[in-house]
């Protein structure tokens, strides 16, 4: 066989015939593969930039969230009959006690207001989910089972972890909370959960240890400026802090630079921002409500007769004060009767006195906006989730700062699980337990999640184990996913490219029939002819590989120049404390994938070569020589 270098010399001439066709072929194939290269540059660019931005945050550590939830429900048919019986007994006893007490105190008592402990479901009888007697019976039943905490300890205890952090919530707060805005408390409107955007702090927050949330907190220099240590420390969503600082939201078409300037300003002044919330217990809020109702009735109904005791709204809407007595024309007897009723209510554990408290929050940290939980199944979701080292909730009270408050003892009513043992309340936080487990390294973390977690995120048996914060695992997943999708795309693109290249190579081969015949006449073996086309194909595919790499690189640079400024702003908004000079670049070098595509181009070329070349091999050179003359 001839030398490859000689074959190449001959093969080069084939690139010079059919120039236009060659150009078009190279261009089309290069556009296709160029798109692949662009996608690869982009994938790695996003990953690199994400890592850059999240340095020093949760992403650098190895957390998993572990949650255990009891699998039995209060309304399960499978609960033992003894629980049902116990609920009924509690119901009966309560009514008997209340009837006796009512008789003794001389107050009216109608037992039909009590919630039945059970309901009928087809043939069976189950606990009534809204009955306090059922709740009590169920609680007693749960008390004999391992607690969610014990279950979690069993699971987590099998692994060597660095730290275990508790996560507390405000779910058990029984009263009502309303924001005290710039015009004070809005008494008339109910606090509706917003349909979009970030919720206000009055909808609750979580308690997390500084060990987890420190990277979201303002620097010490700023914290030490805060004078009011009786205000509750909180990490707040950045948009809420912006509003609290009296800044108007920037319009969408504000330049990237201005957005970054704004971010810096918020960050540097966040320690001055506060939020005020008015907490009222049921009595306080029902007095407020009665004041509102009374005023409304007086206005709308001429025949309305005011009751003997009426309330008015507090004068100062900022003070979180109780409703004031507007008029009290009760007779001595009526007052005595009311007092007896209060005594009766107190006896059976009901709130009778209004309680309200103004909660002032001081901002000690900033949390990013727009975290979209649970969206792990597609690349978009994954990217969002890794770029936002998520916090589970956007309002977080750092536990240690909270515990160190001088007035901490006055704040029991907002502590997790405070109301758990009240009879008329079933605290669902008894049903589950969540904690954050920190590991020393990625391998330990992975081992834990892989062994204890499950593929579809929610596992059977009540446990949910997932990565938290750390993005190296998610980045691995992104790469896997990207590789998968890129693989599909590569398959389609390669098939198209093979067809294009095949027709090009086929054309060149058939163009060269006479030349082939002449070469055969002057002594070329079949293998020499094959080597010439092999070398031609190699050059053609190397050209396609180089041009497509060039196109892909140019395209990603162009895309980057367009979307990088916005992405930079977004990343700074997500990684609020990242270095100001960081830029989000979409250009990254995933060498393995780049090389794979280059190899694919060349393989594609050779696949495209096989058919026309094998057809050519069986041709008769003499005939080919005659054809042309």
């Amino acid at each position: 066989m001839m030398r490859l270098s000689d074959a190449t010399i001959v093969a080069i001439t084939k690139l010079r015939t059919r120039r236009l066709r060659t150009l078009v072929t190279v261009f089309v194939a290069s556009i296709l593969f160029g798109a692949m290269f662009t996608a690869v540059f982009m994938t790695q660019g996003i990953i690199d930039s994400t890592l850059k931005f999240s340095k020093g945050t949760l992403a650098d550590r190895y957390f998993a969230t572990a949650t255990y939830q009891n699998q039995i429900n209060m309304t399960d048919e499978s609960l033992p009959i003894s629980v049902i019986d116990r609920a009924k007994a509690l119901f009966k006893k309560d009514i008997t006690d209340k009837q006796a007490a009512a008789k003794r105190l001389g107050v009216d008592y109608d037992s039909s207001i009590e919630t039945e402990p059970t309901v009928k479901l087809f043939d069976s009888e189950i606990l009534n989910g809204s009955s306090p007697y059922a709740a009590q019976a169920f609680k007693e039943y749960l008390a004999d089972l391992p607690t969610p905490q014990q279950e979690l300890d069993k699971i987590v205890g099998k692994y060597v972890s660095k730290n275990i952090y508790e996560v507390g919530t405000t779910e058990s707060i029984m009263g009502r909370m309303k924001m005290i805005g710039s015009v004070g408390e809005n008494f008339t409107e109910a606090a509706n959960y917003p349909s979009n955007g970030t919720v206000d702090v009055n909808f609750g927050w979580s308690y997390m240890d500084e060990g987890v949330v420190s990277s979201f907190m303002l620097p010490e220099s700023q914290l030490s400026r805060q004078k009011n240590t009786e205000a509750i420390p909180i990490i707040a969503p950045i948009s809420k802090v912006e509003a609290a600082l009296g800044l108007k939201k920037l319009s969408n078409n504000t330049s990237a630079n201005d957005k970054l300037e704004r971010l810096k300003y918020i960050r540097d002044n966040a320690d001055k921002a506060t939020f005020s919330v008015c907490y009222r217990n049921s009595v306080s809020s029902s007095q407020i409500q009665s004041a509102i109702d009374n005023a409304k009735a007086l206005k709308n109904n001429k025949n309305y007769i005011e009751p003997a005791l009426t309330y008015a709204l507090p004068i100062d809407a900022n003070a979180c004060a109780p409703a004031t007595v507007k008029r009290d024309i009760r007779t001595a007897d009526e007052k005595k009767q009311d007092a007896k009723q209060i005594e009766f209510n107190q006896m059976f554990g009901q709130e009778t006195e209004p309680f309200q408290k103004k909660l002032i929050f001081r901002v000690v940290g900033l949390s990013p906006e727009g975290f979209n939980a649970g969206n792990m199944s597609n690349i978009g979701g994954l990217i969002l989730n890794i770029t936002s080292t998520n916090l589970m909730s956007s309002w977080i009270v750092p536990q240690k700062l909270f515990d160190a408050m001088p007035n901490n003892a006055d704040l029991n009513f907002i502590k997790p699980g405070y109301n758990s043992d009240k009879l008329d309340y079933f605290d669902y936080s008894q049903m589950y337990k969540s904690e954050i487990v920190e590991f020393g390294g990625i391998d330990e973390l992975k081992n834990f999640v892989v062994k204890e977690g499950c593929d579809n995120f929610y596992c059977d048996g009540g446990k949910t184990i997932y990565y938290f914060g750390n993005n190296s695992v998610l980045i691995g997943e992104i790469k896997d996913q990207a590789a998968k999708y890129l693989g599909y795309a590569a398959l389609v693109i390669t098939v198209i490219a093979v067809i294009i290249l095949m027709s090009m190579i086929g054309r060149v081969i058939s163009d060269s029939r006479r030349e082939t015949a002449v070469f055969r006449a002057i002594g070329a073996r079949r293998s020499d002819i094959r080597l010439i086309y092999f070398s031609y194909t190699l050059m053609l595919s190397i050209i396609v590989a180089i041009v497509s790499l060039g196109i892909g690189y140019a395209a990603i640079q162009w895309i980057d120049s367009i979307i990088s400024p916005d992405a930079t702003v977004q990343s700074h908004l997500i990684n609020i404390f990242a270095d100001d000079n960081l830029k989000f670049s979409f250009v990254g070098f995933w060498w393995q994938a780049l090389a794979s595509i280059a190899v694919l181009v060349i393989v594609g070329g050779f696949v495209g070569m096989i058919l026309p070349l094998s057809r050519n091999s069986v041709r008769n050179p003499i005939r080919d020589m005659r054809d042309d003359t």
Binding site: M2, R3, D6, I9, V10, I12, T13, R16, T17, R514, E515, V518, F519, R520, A521, I522, G523, A524, R525, R526, D528, P621, I622, M625, T629
Partner: protein
């Protein structure tokens, strides 16, 4: 040998050709004249050198649809080393077919062909390729140089197939270019040369591996007479310089007359 000369049939055939293609007819007249001139095929006695090409009852036929054409119909002759032979005959008489069989581009259906002592009809593709490369040098009517290769590369192509050492090949190309008068033209592309120059280049290419035999199919067919003569002179020079056996297919009686011998074909047979 062959059929007896039948003037009636020859005229009939001529008229048939004339009806279809006047140019072909003119060629036929030429060929007829040359046939007349060289009917006595041997002009010089065979030299004492050994036989290098020997054909015995070689037959080759082609099928076109249902029709069977006997391109060669029992051809036998011997050519000695160093002879300069002209093969003549009317168009379609089987000259090219004969040359292709001698050159190992095609195989006979029947008969024996020995070239340089080897029965080439029995060789494998690899061996026959090597034979074409080393023993034979082909020269074509339309030169068939690679249009995108410079002359020096074009000349070197058979050497590439032979894996000749680079340095050696370069020397050979330079030497042969000089001997065909193209040493100034080595860096030119074929289209920058005249027809005569192109054919001389093609001859130099045919010689690059020092073949024992040159097979030329109408090498002057595309040249004017002056250039044609120069080519024949070149063949004579090659023959005398290297002792190469030269077999030329030609329509040109004048060229045929310069040969040692003329082999005249008619309907696939030697007359």
């Amino acid at each position: 040998m062959g059929e007896p000369w039948d003037i009636d049939q020859e005229v009939k055939k001529f008229l048939e050709i004339f009806d279809n293609d006047p140019i072909e007819a003119v060629k036929a007249i030429e060929s007829f004249k040359s046939n007349q001139a060289t009917v006595q095929s041997r002009t010089k006695p065979a030299p004492d050198t050994p036989v290098i090409i020997s054909l015995d009852s070689v037959k080759k036929s082609y099928r076109i649809g249902r029709q069977r054409i006997n391109a060669l119909d029992g051809v036998s002759f011997e050519i000695h080393q160093g002879e300069l032979i002209a093969i003549t005959g009317a168009s379609g008489s089987g000259k090219s077919t004969l040359l292709q069989i001698i050159g190992g581009l095609d195989k006979p259906d029947a008969g024996i062909i020995e070239v340089d002592g080897v029965d080439i009809s029995k060789l494998s593709d690899g061996k026959i390729s090597k034979f074409r490369n080393q023993t034979i040098g082909f020269v074509f009517q339309f030169f068939y140089l690679q249009p995108f290769l410079r002359l020096k590369t074009n000349l070197a192509v058979p050497g590439m197939f032979a894996r000749t050492k680079r340095k050696q090949l370069k020397q050979d190309v330079a030497g042969l270019a000089k001997s065909v008068g193209l040493d100034e033209r080595l860096n030119h592309l074929p289209r920058e040369l005249s027809g005569g120059q192109m054919q001389r280049a093609a001859i130099a290419r045919a010689l690059i591996n020092r073949p024992k035999i040159i097979l030329a199919d109408e090498p002057t067919g595309n040249l004017d007479s002056a250039n044609g003569e120069a080519i024949i002179e070149l063949f004579e020079k090659i023959r005398s310089d290297y002792g190469t056996t030269v077999v030329i297919v030609t329509h040109d009686a004048k060229i045929a007359s310069k040969a040692d011998r003329e082999i005249h074909l008619r309907d696939g047979q030697i007359i």
